[in-house]
């Protein structure tokens, strides 16, 4: 039996790397985070000719020059220094044939790692379209490496990659084989002076107590001024090392090898030598379909118009398109809840299953349609190459708040729902920009805030219209509330950039890749990946939060009386339904009789019909009386039940907490009931509506809720609610982080609990201050 193999897949962005990964690993990949960083770990387990192979997908990159701990991951994986990944036996380096010069730059760095490499030449069709020809056997000879030609999106050449990997692994496993010299054809990459400094550095590091540093890391220490390796050299004598590196770089500059220019100069010179005679390309670049398309899509007017339309479509799709599926899920959830609820007698178990478990699962699933729809669009736009144009078009606008064009789509998506929006920030490769975007995304007014706005507006804002009916007070309030979060996000983003994410503006050096047809397989895979990641990683915690909040609202409290009353109410309602149906039958009969009477021909018939008619009328009035008293009784029982529920909630842990925080929320114009509503809505903002329904003894009657709110009185008889209170509640909900799903996703995406806690803290403080200022500022004159 042969040992399992580990292969690492690396390449520039937009080279078809993900497609190749899926083709090689059969798309069954395990995804997760590398510990302590935000880099996604993606490993596919598969078999090549019966041998077990783990394919490690590394993030797409133009260069292996680590500037941050995130960028260090790829280098550590390749060098076998990443604890949770086996050292790769073979590195598969995917190269875009239409852009081979820049792609070979990365290959030359990988070669410095002294690992067996297989070069995969992808996108040869695009190269051919541009009139570019590559003689791959000659290239293979020059590089001293196997070169395989593929068309990954058509699944062509994948078997050849597998074969090349196996033979490369076999070659390196034989005892005599030494790791290949970079460019084993004898082409040295760096000039002699630089290599001497590397050796000197190695000696220096040994002297400083650092053992055995791989050659590539020595190169990086010298080349990356202020880079990760220089600043994290794992030596107690860091300051001395920095001094030494400074001197070494000065020496190199004197000898005509200035850092960092020497790297690009040497590597591109090496690339030119390798490609001399291997690459044939036309002297003038032919204008392709992609170029023509770009003239429209990046055009000042047409490009912006297309962009606006596209974004509207995406937004509408998340906002509206996902709605029917969401309703379907809600209906399914109610059906299951009814089924489970019907099987068990009322009691703690019933409540736990119906309100806790089914409700909890529902609150996870409710996000899935939005995630699927958004990622469908994102994957499509990204795979066809448009996403880079969107960032290009929007960059100027976003730089004003200190972000880049890449933050636009995630933030726009957050207006529908912050959960998929935050998950979409993975396209932002700069950590500071990405984290800033993640932290302000929950401020965008998502769809879950709207029910809260509508409730308050319907209850307290008259349907007044101004400017001849064009501007409505309600619509104006709604618009104000929807914009509030985005407006607040601007100074917040700026502040975050000045404090936690301080640093020089990250470069916006972005390739605009050629357009291509998106691959359905890749797109579906990406969507599935995201949906799965959400359910598995965030879903369990969202579920747990739901159960916790359910428990806080249920315990402590004696529910036996309520449960017994529930049984009575259920029976009464059933009885009522039976009687109502009986009445309906009688009514139908009465109408039938009236019709028959008109067409009656004989005296006898008329008489019979009249007798029955009188009888039916009598029974109807009897039934009406019975119905009246019955529905009166039922209504009393329901009111009693709702009152008991309200009392139970008031005395529950949640209710007591609500009372406890009353002094804190009083300056916002709130009473303890609103406090409870806010506490209970931690799993999701819209939960406040159901909680207020319970507190105001309305049960599930949401239509009557605005009236109940208008009628609510404080102990001293003053109304609880007024326009300032309603405004204060709305402002609070516009700015607060009452959405456990968002917080769980922030935790997952930043791989750190502290950012989730920070978001909760800063948004709650903002919301409190906002509500306070709103209430105190408006109560004098509204």
């Amino acid at each position: 039996m042969s040992e399992p193999l580990t292969i690492a897949l690396i390449g520039n962005p937009n080279t078809g790397k993900s497609t190749l990964f899926n083709a090689l690993s059969g798309s069954r990949a395990l995804t997760g985070n590398y510990p302590g960083v935000t880099v996604e770990k993606k490993i596919g387990r598969t078999q090549f000719e019966g041998r077990q192979v783990d394919v490690v997908d590394l993030p797409g990159t133009y260069s292996l020059a680590p500037r941050s701990i995130d960028e260090m991951v790829a280098v550590n994986v390749l060098l076998g220094r990443q604890a949770d990944v086996n050292r790769p036996d073979v590195v598969v380096c995917i190269v875009d044939a239409s852009n081979i010069e820049r792609n070979l730059y990365l290959v030359s760095q990988v070669l410095d790692l002294r690992l067996p490499v297989v070069v995969v030449l992808n996108m040869c069709d695009v190269a051919a379209e541009r009139g570019i020809q590559i003689y791959e056997s000659m290239l293979s000879c020059r590089l001293g490496l196997p070169v395989v030609r593929t068309e990954a999106h058509r699944q062509r050449g994948i078997d050849d990659v597998r074969k090349a990997v196996l033979s490369a692994a076999a070659g390196s496993a034989s005892a005599t084989a030494k790791p290949p010299e970079p460019g084993s054809s004898g082409l040295k990459i760096f000039p002699e002076a630089f290599r001497q400094e590397c050796q000197a550095l190695s000696a220096k590091l040994t002297e400083f107590g650092r053992t055995e540093t791989p050659e590539y890391l020595l190169e990086r220490m010298l080349l990356d001024v202020g880079g990760w390796l220089e600043t994290h050299a794992e030596t107690p004598r860091q300051a001395e090392l920095t001094d030494w590196l400074h001197q070494a770089r000065a020496r190199l500059a004197e000898q005509g090898c200035p850092v960092p220019a020497v790297e690009a100069r040497s590597r591109y010179a090496w690339v030119r030598k390798v490609l001399d005679g291997v690459l044939v390309k036309p002297t003038t670049r032919p204008v392709t379909f992609s170029d023509k398309l770009d003239r429209v899509l990046t055009h000042h007017i047409a490009g912006m118009a297309v962009f606006v339309v596209l974004m509207l479509i995406v937004f509408q799709a998340i906002y509206r398109g996902a709605e029917p599926v969401k309703d379907l899920f809600t209906a399914g959830q109610q059906w299951v809840a009814g089924l489970v609820g019907g099987l068990l007698p009322p009691g703690p178990l019933n409540s736990l299953l119906v309100d806790g478990v089914v409700g909890g699962v529902g609150s996870v699933l409710v996000f899935l349609p939005q995630i699927v729809v958004l990622f469908l669009f994102i994957a499509l736009l990204e795979d066809c190459g448009y996403m880079a144009r969107a960032a290009f078009l929007m960059d100027r606008l976003m730089t004003r708040v200190g972000l880049s064009g890449k933050s636009f789509v995630p933030l726009m998506s957050s207006f529908a729902c912050a959960v998929p929006g935050i998950m979409a920030t993975r396209v932002i490769e700069n950590r500071r920009d990405r984290f800033t975007t993640i932290l302000v995304a929950p401020l965008m007014s998502c769809s879950a805030r709207q029910p809260v706005y509508w409730l308050m507006i319907a209850a307290f804002f008259p349907a007044t219209y101004y400017v001849g009916g064009w501007v409505g007070l309600r619509e104006l309030t709604m618009f104000g509330m929807t914009s509030l979060g985005a407006l607040v996000a601007i100074p917040v983003a700026w502040l975050l950039k000045q404090t936690f994410f301080r640093g020089e503006t990250p470069p916006f050096v972005m390739e605009l890749p050629g357009y291509k047809w998106p691959s359905p397989r890749l797109v579906l895979n990406r969507v599935y990946d995201r949906a799965r990641a959400f359910v598995v990683r965030a879903g369990t915690l969202i579920f747990a939060t739901n159960i916790l909040v359910w428990g806080a609202g249920y315990f402590p409290g004696d529910h036996t009386q309520t449960d017994a009353l529930q049984v009575v109410v259920d029976q009464a309602q059933e009885e009522l339904a039976v009687e109502k149906e009986a009445r309906l039958n009688l009514e139908t009969r009465q109408q039938e009789l009236a019709a028959l009477l008109k067409s009656a021909t004989t005296e006898q018939q008329t008489l019979e019909l009249k007798t029955e008619s009188t009888d039916v009328a009598g029974r109807l009035s009897e039934l009406d009386q019975k119905l009246e008293s019955l529905s009166g009784e039922t209504a009393l029982k329901v009111a009693d039940l709702n009152r008991q529920r309200s009392e139970l909630l008031e005395n529950s842990l949640l209710g007591r907490l609500g009372h406890a925080i009353e002094p804190v929320v009083a300056p916002l114009g709130w009473d303890w009931r609103i406090g409870v509503g806010v506490l209970a809505s931690f799993p999701a903002r819209e939960v406040i509506i159901g909680t207020l329904g319970t507190i105001y003894s309305m049960g599930g009657d949401e239509e009557g809720l605005p009236t109940a709110l208008q009628a609510a009185r404080r102990p001293d008889g003053r109304p609880v609610y007024s326009i300032p209170v309603a405004l204060s509640i709305m402002v609070f909900f516009a700015l607060c982080a009452q959405c456990s799903s968002t917080l769980m996703v922030i935790h997952r995406e930043t791989n750190d609990w502290r950012w989730a806690l920070f978001t909760f803290a800063y948004m709650t403080i903002l919301a409190y201050l906002g509500a306070f200022l709103t209430y105190q500022g408006t109560r004098g004159w509204l």
């Binding site: 020059a65 820049r102 080349l223 990046t298 007017i301 730089t399």
Partner: protein, 81 residues
């Protein structure tokens, strides 16, 4: 006129080409620009700017690269026949 004798890449007239003389700075941004193919001797063509004037699109090494004016300013250029 700056446009007729552009000294840095951000000043290059759209549709014109120039040769890179040097990239200023030793930090990550400069290193990145060089990695992407902007180093001495390379020929660059300016393709046009985004609707809001920034960033600018260039043709480098046969591919399209977008740079902000701030970054393009680091790339010193000379006229190219």
């Amino acid at each position: 006129m700056a446009a007729s004798h552009p000294e840095t890449l951000d000043q290059l007239t759209f549709g014109q080409t120039a040769r890179v003389v040097a990239v200023d700075g030793v930090d990550a941004i400069s290193a990145r620009l060089m990695e992407m193919g902007l180093f001495e001797g390379e020929v660059v063509e300016s393709l046009g700017a985004a609707p809001l004037g920034d960033p600018i699109e260039f043709l480098v090494c046969g591919y399209r690269l977008s740079l902000r004016k701030n970054e393009a300013r680091r790339v010193r250029i000379a006229g190219h026949e």
